[in-house]
């Protein structure tokens, strides 16, 4: 079960090597995203779209809001 994190915990996780992933569509990511986030849209998330992610490191996912 993924752990919910508050905004203030993100820098600490990134300092520990976490990977930040925006799962919104490409256009929304390209318009504006969190620093150093990569884009893997939810609609395409699968074994073939995550080779650049390291399974040994934490991953933080985010979208637009909590809804």
């Amino acid at each position: 079960m993924a752990v919910a994190v508050h905004r203030e915990e993100i820098p600490r996780l990134l300092a520990r090597g976490a990977q930040l992933v925006e799962v919104l569509p490409v256009a929304e990511y390209e318009e504006e995203h969190l620093p150093d986030a990569i884009n893997v849209p939810l609609a395409t998330l699968g074994p073939e779209t995550i080779p650049e992610l390291d399974r040994s490191r934490p991953v933080i996912v985010y979208c637009w809001d909590a809804l």
Partner: protein
């Protein structure tokens, strides 16, 4: 959407998955840096003055008055230990009994806006209601700064392409 992505990643073998459930809107509302073309959009958080006088509930009006005098502002923001906005000591309150504590003299629950609010719409509301300044807070209510309408008006009327820097 992000909970589903987190589930999917766990199913794909990721063991340490975190879900920033509040998402990009929360990050923007806190005035934190972003990347991409829209990152240069003028927003209240970028234009707000951050060096503004503050005091706590237990500080005296006299203490707040000294801080305001040294700042160039005309009000003191009353905050908690976590810097959450609780109230404001305005000119009238600051001119009152210096021995009173902020908790007694403040105007509680001042209006606030988030750092990412649409600046044009906010300015239109401020003009319509004759509001000269408004507090900017993050989604947790923590003070980020004070937006002066005049500062924003100057930036919004600047010729296109001119540098847009936050006021001192």
């Amino acid at each position: 959407m992000s909970p589903r992505a987190a589930c999917r990643l766990e199913a794909l073998g990721f063991s340490a998955v975190y879900d920033y459930t509040a998402g990009k809107i929360d990050w923007l509302a806190a005035g934190l840096p972003t990347e991409g073309p829209a990152a240069s959009t003028l927003r209240p958080g970028a234009l707000a003055r951050t060096e503004i006088p503050t005091c706590t509930l237990d500080d005296t009006v006299a203490t707040a008055r000294q801080r305001v005098a040294a700042s160039g502002e005309d009000r003191c923001v009353v905050v908690s230990g976590e810097h959450i906005v609780l109230g404001v000591l305005d000119r009238d309150a600051l001119a009152g009994d210096g021995h009173a504590i902020a908790a007694e003299a403040m105007r509680a629950g001042p209006a606030t806006v988030r750092a990412n609010e649409d600046l044009s719409a906010l300015l239109e509301r401020m003009h319509r209601r004759n509001v000269m300044e408004i507090l900017v807070t993050d989604p947790d209510g923590r003070l980020l700064g004070l937006l002066h309408r005049d500062d924003a008006d100057v930036v919004m009327t600047r010729p296109h392409g001119a540098p847009a820097t936050a006021p001192d």
